[in-house]
């Protein structure tokens, strides 16, 4: 099957074609899923090299799972988001040097710079990222998947291995925290003029 003919194929069909040895499917899936995996990892980890490592590991696991993939059991993108999220959480925990309740503990404030000082130096997107980095990891993860990746709550619940109500709670708390962090900067970043 030529590459152009694959643009309308579902991820599941492409993965089946990949497992059947179709080279065009390998290219199509890489271009479709690679940026997604990298994007989530980058938002979670804030480090390009680490995000590339995590996304590469997730893709490698996907290629190796392809021959045994059972159609209809899970969406390929959901599976990939889940692997990326778990790898990111593992890295964050290792960086912190121990097991902590990531939902209960917020990022400690940087004594050298306040949130206001950081936001003064950033544009709107970067300001949002800076505020996201202040959230507890599970809230951050849920908000990224819901509002930046555009996923539905049931899919996020599957990715995070929690219930839909827990997702709604995490995103609500995350949004409330973001409003507090970003509200003071609205005028400076031009939102009050719109």
């Amino acid at each position: 099957m030529p590459y152009d003919a694959m643009s309308d194929s579902s991820d599941e069909d492409l993965l089946a074609a990949y497992a059947a040895g179709e080279p065009a499917a390998a290219r199509a899936l890489t271009l479709r899923l690679g940026p997604k995996a990298f994007g989530v990892a980058m938002r979670m980890l804030k480090d390009r090299a680490e995000a590339e490592d995590v996304a590469q590991e997730a893709l490698l696991r996907l290629w190796r799972a392809a021959p045994g993939w059972r159609t209809g059991e899970a969406k390929v993108s959901t599976w990939l988001y889940r692997v990326v999220s778990n790898l990111c959480i593992d890295r964050i925990r290792k960086a912190r040097g121990g097991h902590v309740d990531l939902d209960a503990v917020a990022e400690p404030p940087d004594p050298a710079r306040s949130v206001e000082q950081e936001l003064q130096e950033t544009a709107r997107g970067a300001a949002l990222q800076a505020a996201l980095d202040r959230l507890p990891e599970r809230q951050k993860q849920a908000v990224i998947l819901r509002h930046l990746e555009g996923l539905a709550n049931p899919e996020i619940a599957e990715i995070m291995d929690i219930g839909v109500r827990a997702v709604e709670s995490l995103t609500a708390r995350g949004r409330k925290a973001l409003e507090g962090l970003l509200g003071a900067r609205r005028a400076e970043l031009g939102y009050d003029d719109e």
């Binding site: 040895g21 390998a26 690679g34 990298f38 709107r124 997107g125 300001a127 949002l128 509002h147 930046l148």
Partner: protein
């Protein structure tokens, strides 16, 4: 974007829009390496099944292709019977024919030309003999 999501975002909507617009993108070099890795990890295309090989067209005709061309099984049976009879007549001369065949094998110069000539008298006349 769904109405539910829009309502959820409310005042944060412009921030999320900015975040979506500035999605982190991987480098082309990294994507190229990921594509190479995908191809390297890809299972080989499966070998054709035995059934597929059997379904492939053969180069030359087989016996069961020739039978219809010869007129079907009855015609082939007739040909086989005629062949067997010819072999039998050649190998074991029946008693009724032994006198005739021995006569043909002991011809002398004075014997008629037409004694053993398979051509008819008409054919000989046309040739001017």
């Amino acid at each position: 974007m769904s109405e539910k999501r829009r309502a959820e975002e409310a005042g944060l909507g412009p921030w999320f829009e900015a975040g979506r617009a500035e999605a982190p993108a991987p480098s082309g070099d990294w994507l190229a390496r990921m594509e190479a890795m995908a191809l390297e990890e890809q299972p080989a295309a499966p070998m054709p099944e035995v059934a597929d090989l059997a379904a492939r067209p053969r180069r030359g005709p087989r016996l069961h292709d020739l039978i219809p061309a010869l007129g079907g099984w009855p015609a082939v049976a007739g040909l086989a019977a005629a062949c067997a009879a010819g072999v039998w007549l050649g190998a074991v001369t029946p008693a009724g024919l032994s006198g005739w065949t021995s006569g043909t094998t002991s011809l002398t110069a004075s014997d008629s030309y037409t004694t053993f000539e398979p051509a008819s008298g008409f054919d000989v006349a046309m040739l001017g003999y």
